[in-house]
């Protein structure tokens, strides 16, 4: 076995996927190759340190099923559903929908212009003040 094959077996062994026969072949190579033996010692040492340093497990907390189902229900009835309704309207009858939107905008402008404050603002923007400057 060459060192490249040994490296492959090291990868499999560190991942816990090497068979007993493959581990035996790796051991045989490590007994003859100092460089691979050093690499294996370093990496298996790092693996052991990692295993020892794992964080404490989280306590098994609350049941999330209620929160999950509540979020699903909100999505079914909330803004996403409303956007879906609008998207469906625009997609099926685009001209009628565009006309409805335009009419709404025109009505809004008329109502705004009819308001007293809006009329004063329109006069100021139209050029000049009441004293003639």
């Amino acid at each position: 076995m060459n060192c490249s094959e040994a490296k492959r077996l090291m990868q499999m062994a560190l991942a816990g996927d090497a068979s007993a026969a493959e581990l035996a072949r790796l051991d045989a190579h490590l007994a003859e190759c100092a460089a691979c033996a050093r690499q294996w010692e370093a990496l298996s040492g790092a693996a052991a340190a990692l295993t020892s340093a794992q964080p404490e497990p989280l306590p098994q907390g609350r049941d999330l099923s209620g929160a999950v189902m509540a979020q699903i229900a909100r999505e079914a009835n909330g803004p996403t559903a409303q956007r879906s309704w609008l998207a469906e309207l625009l997609g099926s009858r685009p001209l009628q929908a565009a006309g409805a939107v335009a009419a709404t905008v025109v009505c809004a402008v008329i109502l705004w212009l009819a308001a007293p404050g809006a009329q004063a603002l329109a006069m100021l923007m139209g050029g000049g003040t009441s004293n003639g400057y």
Partner: protein, 181 residues
């Protein structure tokens, strides 16, 4: 939502069939059945228990949305676990202090030597690029095999092997440079 006695003894396959037929109580039972395992999977990748719960909750909601795409090649738990892990990785990118729960660490006074070493190892792991951190954490903190990690993450098994190997090399280098500094 209270458990449904009809659901408690049903198989995952039966529950999924009922969910597809419009039975939301069956989906709630799937959540109850798998939430602990999925929470355990994501916990090492987030900064707080709250983020872990958020990742799990959002994963189950996403699974509901995408249920039509679930074909059963992997188990339901594996599929939701995959969604949750990637959601957890996104949450982990938010700037937060590390969750320091090393044995012997109480936040006050000098740290015990073992606790300081454990913290250094964990920081070296958390500093890994995502593609290395995922398989390394699942292998050494969740005791999953390379084959199981490949199935969970949807990777080739050889990719898992390579990334665990390179991740360990990088952890070792990080620890050695930390010792020298």
């Amino acid at each position: 939502m209270r458990p449904d006695s009809r659901s408690e003894h049903a198989t995952n396959h039966d529950l999924l069939q009922r969910v597809r037929g419009g039975d939301s109580a069956a989906f709630a039972e799937l959540v109850r059945r798998h939430q602990a395992a999925v929470l355990s999977l994501v916990a090492p990748f987030v900064h707080s228990p709250e983020d872990a719960e958020d990742a799990v909750q959002e994963a189950f909601v996403e699974a509901w949305r995408q249920l039509d795409r679930f074909r059963g090649e992997a188990s339901f738990r594996t599929w939701v676990g995959r969604i949750a892990i990637y959601r957890a990785m996104t949450l982990s990118k938010k700037p937060r202090p590390l969750m320091e729960n090393a044995p012997g660490w109480d936040g006050e006074g000098p740290q015990l030597p073992d606790a300081a070493e454990a913290l250094a190892v964990r920081e070296a792991v958390l500093a890994l690029p995502e593609d290395f951190r995922l398989p390394v954490v699942l292998r050494f903190w969740r005791d999953m095999s390379g084959r199981e990690i490949a199935e969970l993450l949807g990777w080739e098994q050889s990719t898992v092997w390579t990334r665990i190997y390179r991740g360990l090399e990088q952890v070792r280098q990080n620890l050695e440079s930390e010792e020298r500094s």
